[in-house]
Symmetry: C2
Amino acid sequence: MSRTTPQRQAIRDALAGAGRPLSPNELLDLAQDEIPKLGMATVYRTLSLLVEEGEAVAVELPGEPPRYEHRSAAEHHHHHFRCDSCERVFDVEGCPGNMKGMLPKGFSLRAHHITLFGTCDECAKKAG
Amino acid sequence: MSRTTPQRQAIRDALAGAGRPLSPNELLDLAQDEIPKLGMATVYRTLSLLVEEGEAVAVELPGEPPRYEHRSAAEHHHHHFRCDSCERVFDVEGCPGNMKGMLPKGFSLRAHHITLFGTCDECAKKAG
DNA sequence: CTAGTTGCAAAGCATTTGCCTGTGG
DNA sequence: CCACAGGCAAATGCTTTGCAACTAG
């Protein structure tokens, strides 16, 4: 059975507390505040485990390696925003919907991903 | 200056003739019909060159390495559809637009990507 | 106790680069 | 002729795996 270890707890906590999708590196940095010797391999292994358990969800963005967010964020339909400046990713609410009109004849739709790109509020402030 | 070689010509032709975004591997296969000894390194080097020249455009999809499409496809705003079954990617016309309403307060929008997932017409027919 | 976990180092893979030979202009 | 290109093989960077030591239950 799957054990509760300090490493896993630190990773779970970081994910749950972030409120946005985190990259494996961001996760390593955050979790190392708790467990300084934590290795990247453990982060990857724990992420696979959390995804299997349904505790975390992979967030795939165009042109970037996957990030991961806590189950609570994934429970409702949402999309993502990536800041050009700080490169952080945020969840965004709402959806234009009605994407069936875009389909070529004979194609059927199962899902859609929308990614917005621009500047987040913090970076906008810094830039003046 | 940049030279015209049989390798580059084969790659250009494959891209121009495809009518949809191609992965480096698809491109290698197609171009090897013309130049059997063509190497992957040349495909990658030529793609960078074509992108610099504006002859080709990189198409980034969530969770996948970039594909490339001919300039002619990129001249107008469009999005992409990926078939779950054959894994090919197609261009789709139209756009729900008005994505600004989704932005959190203080965020500004520069661009958006939409990717549709489902089954293409050919695969739908095969599946009956 | 002892099977599941971890850290470290080595292995994988797709992409990129270095180097020497070949060739377009 | 000779600077640019191409093929091959080695290097890279991120992710995964192997393995011996460690620890939760």
